[in-house]
């Protein structure tokens, strides 16, 4: 709504004065856009409305309303709410099927992608060795560790990209600093001579310790 100084001023006058109480100047101003009858009617409506509201009975507030408001606001714990829900047999069956499906999908998703350039196994080995048959002196733990790649005179760290260095835990007392320049992925390892053997980490003394 656009500002209208005339309406604003006339409304102020309507709230305060009867038409015959208006100054000459205000009267002229009022009559520039409305009739005397209109003014009188509106003024009388305002007065009647005020009387109406001041005399009309007021509703009583319910005394227990405040406690019911506070009670309403204290929502029960969501877990208790869920546990209180009656569970039907088909809902339970559907839930079990869903859990099994998720578990199966999760298992399959853990298998490495055979087309990937990345190694098939989550493989980690750290050892600087002089011999062609290096002694495994230091290992890091990974939940999928079952293969160790050992390359002479080279420290190799191979891991699947998605898990890079996140699940790895060095078990030796020597501080292990991950050096990305020493990361060799399958593409690179193909070109260098490597020795691969399977290792059961569960028998690794360092792992056990």
């Amino acid at each position: 709504m656009k500002a209208n100084p005339y309406l604003e001023r006339v409304y102020e006058l309507l709230e305060q004065f009867d038409f015959n109480e208006l100054s000459e100047k205000d009267r002229t101003y009022v009559l520039s856009n409305m009739s005397e009858k209109e003014y009188i009617n509106m003024r009388s409506t305002i007065k009647d409305t005020e009387t109406f509201f001041s005399n009309s009975s007021e509703p009583n507030i319910n005394v227990s309303l405040l406690s019911s408001i506070i009670h309403t606001n204290h929502k029960p714990n969501i877990l208790i709410k869920i546990l209180n829900q009656p569970v039907k047999f088909y809902q339970l069956a559907a839930f079990i099927v869903l859990i099994l499906a998720i578990y199966t999908i999760k298992q399959y998703s853990d298998f490495p992608d055979k087309n990937s350039a990345l190694p098939l196994h989550d493989t980690i080995f750290i050892q600087k060795a002089d011999s062609i048959y290096p002694k495994l002196a230091d290992t890091v733990y990974s939940k999928l560790i079952d293969t160790v790649k050992c390359i002479r005179e080279k420290i190799i760290y191979i891991s699947r990209e998605k898990d890079t260095n996140t699940h790895v835990k060095l078990l030796s007392t020597t501080a292990y600093v991950f050096d990305s320049s020493k990361v060799v992925f399958k593409k690179t390892t193909d070109s260098i001579k490597e020795l691969t053997f399977t290792k059961d980490v569960s028998s690794d003394t360092l792992f056990k310790n």
Partner: protein, 177 residues
């Protein structure tokens, strides 16, 4: 705590200090529950039960949404704005049943206007559009200043005066017919 302003009380409530917060909320409730009941009662066609439910909903909203109140606004304007929005939503849903005929029987003994005039005026107020009726209730029943109404509607005082002018004109037209 009674000497504290509304804004200070809601701030205490927002601080979530257990019993202190509850007391602060209790004070706010005592200050506004009756006013809000009146506002809803006269805006929702004198439906006492509905007005009572609305007061309950309003205060539950305040408990839940207290964090949306910033301290640079006035609590009074904020609570009336929520109430006005609740009324608007109710009218939008078209759920309000006009009950002024029922009410007139129960309150006829305290009128100073003639019963006929009071009945007519009640009907005319009911026939106003929701915004005009809300303005009339805020101004003449709850006796809010133009400035306070402007804060509720978040518009200049001049705009409120113009809207009140049109509301009064409309009411006068309906009433004097």
């Amino acid at each position: 705590m009674q000497h504290l302003t509304d804004e200070q009380l809601i701030k205490i409530y927002q601080s979530n200090e257990g019993n202190k917060s509850q007391v602060a909320f209790g004070h706010l409730y005592n200050r506004y529950a009756k006013l809000m009941l009146n506002y809803f009662y006269f805006s929702l066609h004198y439906d006492h039960n509905k007005a009572q439910d609305f007061v309950q909903d309003l205060f539950v909203k305040i408990l839940e949404k207290h964090h949306t109140f910033n301290n640079d606004q006035f609590f009074k304007a904020w609570i009336y704005r929520i109430a006005a929005n609740m009324c608007n939503n109710e009218f939008r849903k078209n759920n309000v049943i006009r009950k002024y005929h029922d009410h007139i029987k129960s309150s006829s003994e305290i009128m100073t206007l003639s019963p006929e005039t009071e009945k007519d005026l009640r009907k005319c107020i009911t026939d106003l559009n929701p915004e005009q009726r809300s303005l009339i209730v805020l101004r003449f029943k709850l006796k809010l200043s133009i400035k306070e109404i402007a804060q509720i509607y978040e518009c200049p005082e001049g705009t409120i005066k113009s809207r009140l002018f049109y509301a009064t004109k409309e009411l006068s037209k309906l009433f004097k017919v």
